[in-house]
């Protein structure tokens, strides 16, 4: 498979995109992708850092969509708050010439994830469609995956999940609530992917890029349309086009996880 060109630019200067790729090593589907719709998906996400305004709508939408518990001030101070999608903020320069940069960071769904290797019980695995999945019911909470993730994109449930009364009404019935003592993480809104695929199958067609490119909660809620989701095995998709842009790069490439 031809690797999408990934040139590293000064993303901190704000001229580049973060391209977060996902996928399987085998790419033979890609060759036939031109003529027939691909049967195997390879989900990916590209985030245009130039467009990101740092409004954190993605993080808020993600919390609401995925039933991420409210941590409270004490736990947040101790670094125990859970964010499936979070904004990494860095600043450059000093006051008059200060620049703030924002990098929205979901799970990178690496092609060679270190977390699935160290999981002793198979609670986290890589699915055929390239999602790094997590099964909370299987997880024993040893936190080796959390330790091994170079991006700190996995979160342990340090205490029992709880919500204020007012937020209970908005819990999403499509996503299970996790107990304490297990790891959780971004799953690329797999319940939405499944719903889209079911709908397409019922109508006897394959999923279209128009349905997909704003599918996840973060992409849907981004006012600047910086986040693009889609199928990297589909040559025509928006996400493939953007990922092949010369401005595209992957986060922390030297770790070799191929995010």
């Amino acid at each position: 498979m031809k690797e999408p060109t990934s040139s590293r630019r000064r993303f901190l200067g704000g001229f580049a995109q973060v391209a977060t790729f996902v996928g399987l090593a085998s790419g033979d589907v890609l060759a036939t992708g031109e003529t027939t719709p691909p049967r195997t998906h390879k989900w990916g996400m590209v985030i245009d850092l130039d467009r990101c305004t740092g409004c954190q709508a993605c993080a808020v939408a993600c919390r609401a969509e995925n039933n991420v518990p409210v941590s409270g001030p004490v736990n947040t101070e101790k670094g125990r708050a859970i964010f499936w999608m979070n904004l990494l903020t860095t600043s450059e320069g000093t006051y008059p010439g200060l620049r703030e940069e924002f990098i929205p960071t979901p799970c990178n769904h690496c092609e060679d994830p270190p977390c699935t290797k160290v999981c002793p019980v198979g609670a986290t695995t890589q699915t055929e469609e390239g999602i790094t999945a997590q099964i909370p019911d299987r997880c024993i909470g040893c936190r080796l995956c959390e330790v091994s993730c170079p991006y700190t994109r996995r979160y342990f449930n340090w205490s029992e999940a709880e919500w204020p009364e007012s937020l209970r009404e908005q819990l999403n019935p499509d996503v299970a609530v996790r107990p304490h003592g297990v790891i959780e993480k971004c799953l690329f809104c797999h319940h939405r992917i499944r719903a889209a695929k079911d709908k397409a199958r019922a109508e006897g067609r394959s999923v279209t890029d128009a349905e997909l490119h704003r599918l996840t909660a973060c992409a849907q809620s981004c006012p600047a349309e910086a986040i693009t989701f889609g199928d990297l095995n589909d040559r025509e998709s928006e996400v493939t086009r953007q990922s092949e842009s010369p401005r595209a790069f992957r986060l922390l490439e030297d770790v070799g996880t191929r995010p």
């Binding site: 002793p120 609670a123 299987r138 080796l144």
Partner: protein, 549 residues
């Protein structure tokens, strides 16, 4: 096993042996205020361990100072590494004493083995308390184990190690258990059961000696593997600056030897004093152990120097910030006090004792060992924690301060360890009982065919199961390979057990060692019943006769 335990026994063997045996076993009876007091204190300390654990179960791991954007692992992991380390040395001492025939240290061997068992139990308890879901941790690891995970390797090697060292310990102790059956009448049934029909013949002794010798050869590499795996848990994480290091495995093995030896010295000194074992452990034993401890400590300091030099010398940025933090930053006080007070100073003490012919001091060795223990424990926290302060992406990090619950677990596990050790010492004969030296080399007799078949089958089945497990490593959901290869390992390790324990002749008369004091033969209920059954017609007839007159 072979040979006289103490050189003082050489002359006039029998009389002194009898006297000696009483001294060797005097630690067994459960009497004295000191014992109950120490049991009480240790139980109270152990309750701290379970108090900390209960807090975690009730309120989640939020009662610790750890956090996702903070220290993901804390002092509990350092504690696990410490106890796994301590557990390694017991069997190492015992195996080395056996392989190199170090008669002077022979009486130390079993105490060291007990330290192994107590420490590994404590370590596994600690692992169970550190994971988020203790109730499913063992089952899930066995049933769904993934061969790529260091955690599964650790589960495999720990199981192998525990089973192997138990078999080793048992076979080396079996003759003493058999002797205890007669020497300790109050626990006759217990030791009789444990001895599993041992017969004390020259051939049987020779067989035990041979089997245990080979087991010692096998167990040494297993011991190295266990701590190496702990090195790999840290050393294979490419995303963790400060850990990612091919050097980690030998480094951890060396650390295990250092902290294990110092624990053995401390425990030995304590027991020698309280149980009056002065005659078996003369001060020169401490000197010898101290010299070795000093040597390995020096080696550890050399490793440490090499690691830190690599860390701060033109290394990648991620590594450099971690090591700067360790050496000159927020961990500097901890690191330097551990290195100077916990390694350099005790090394100086041990060196001073080692090179001076006239200095043979137990307190000095014990102080040095205690310092080294504390230093090594501290260094392990400095291995575990600092990397979490420097993630590769610039996330804000919450500082880590261990909480009360964590200290409860850590300190409680030391009490737990001591409690387990005390129970083991009070249950089993710790010192090897003397035996008559075999002059001619006796070979064990050939095993009968059915026994060869049983042993051969177990060996073959064990290897087959391990191979099957490894072969199906890619389908953990269907075949549960970890269970398969672990049962193979256990079956394989049962081979030495079978060789020694399976009876040679099926209809052998059961021989007990003669009792120390004469006891009346007990009337067995079975014989009363059979007597009545055979005598019944005559009794009836007698009654009839009586009735007629």
């Amino acid at each position: 096993m072979a040979g006289v335990a103490d050189p003082t026994l050489a002359g006039n063997a029998h009389e002194e042996a009898a006297h000696d045996e009483a001294a060797l076993l005097q630690h067994l009876p459960l009497e004295g205020k000191g014992l109950w007091l120490s049991l009480l204190v240790l139980a109270a300390g152990t309750s701290a361990l379970f108090y900390g654990f209960l807090q975690q179960v009730l309120h989640g791991h939020a009662v610790t100072g750890q956090g996702s954007h903070g220290a993901v692992w804390g002092i509990m992991v350092a504690n696990i590494v410490n106890f796994i380390g301590v557990s390694h040395v017991g069997i190492a001492i015992s195996a080395v004493v056996r392989l190199l025939r170090l008669k002077r240290y022979q009486q130390l061997a079993r105490l060291a083995e007990f330290i192994t068992l107590a420490a590994i139990t404590t370590a596994v308890t600690n692992i169970a308390m550190d994971v988020g879901r203790p109730e499913r941790f063992i089952f899930n690891t066995l049933w769904y184990g993934r061969y790529t995970a260091p955690f599964v390797w650790s589960c495999t090697v720990i199981t192998t190690y525990v089973v192997g060292s138990s078999v080793y310990l048992y076979l080396a102790m079996r003759r003493d258990l058999w002797l205890c059956e007669t020497k300790v009448p109050s626990r006759r049934w217990f030791y009789g059961l444990l001895a599993l029909g041992y017969t004390d013949t020259p051939a049987s002794r020779a067989r035990h000696t041979r089997v245990v010798w080979w087991l010692a050869v096998v167990i040494l590499p297993i011991m190295v593997s266990v701590h190496s795996v702990y090195g790999y848990i840290f050393g294979l994480q490419a995303g963790r600056p400060g850990w990612y290091n091919p050097f980690q495995a030998p480094y951890f093995v060396l650390g295990a030897i250092v902290s294990g030896f110092s624990t053995v010295i401390v425990a030995l000194a304590l027991l020698r004093k309280t149980l009056h074992w002065e005659q078996f452990f003369p001060p020169r034993i401490f000197k010898g152990l101290g010299i070795f401890l000093g040597f390995v400590t020096l080696l550890y300091m050399y490793f440490l120097f090499s690691e830190y030099l690599t860390g701060i010398y033109a290394s990648p940025e991620g590594e450099r910030v971690v090591f700067h933090d360790v050496l000159f930053g927020r961990f500097a006080i901890v690191t330097w006090s551990a290195m100077l007070g916990g390694m350099l100073l005790p090394f100086a003490l041990l060196f001073f004792q080692g090179v001076n012919r006239r200095v043979v001091s137990i307190p000095l060795s014990v102080v040095a060992a205690l310092l080294i223990n504390a230093g090594l424990w501290t260094i392990r926290t400095v291995v575990v924690v600092p990397t979490f302060y420097h993630p590769l992406l610039p996330w804000p990090v919450a500082p880590y301060t261990p909480t009360f619950a964590e200290w409860c677990i850590v300190i409680g596990s030391f009490f737990f360890f001591a409690l387990l050790l005390l129970v083991l010492i009070k249950t089993f004969p710790v010192l090897e009982l003397p035996e008559i030296e075999e002059e001619e080399h006796v070979r064990a007799q050939r095993m009968p065919l059915w026994k060869i078949a049983s042993v051969g089958f177990s060996a073959l089945a064990g290897v087959t199961l391990i191979a099957t497990g490894l072969g199906h490593r890619l389908e953990p959901e269907v075949f549960h390979p970890v269970v398969i290869w672990l049962s193979g390992t256990i079956l394989l390790l049962s081979v030495p057990f079978q060789i020694c324990v399976l009876p040679e002749r099926r209809l052998r008369v059961f021989v007990r060692a003669p009792l120390a004091t004469a006891r009346p033969a007990p009337l067995r209920p079975a014989s009363v019943v059979s007597y009545l059954a055979s005598a019944r017609p005559r009794i009836v007839k007698a009654k009839v006769i009586v009735g007629r007159f």
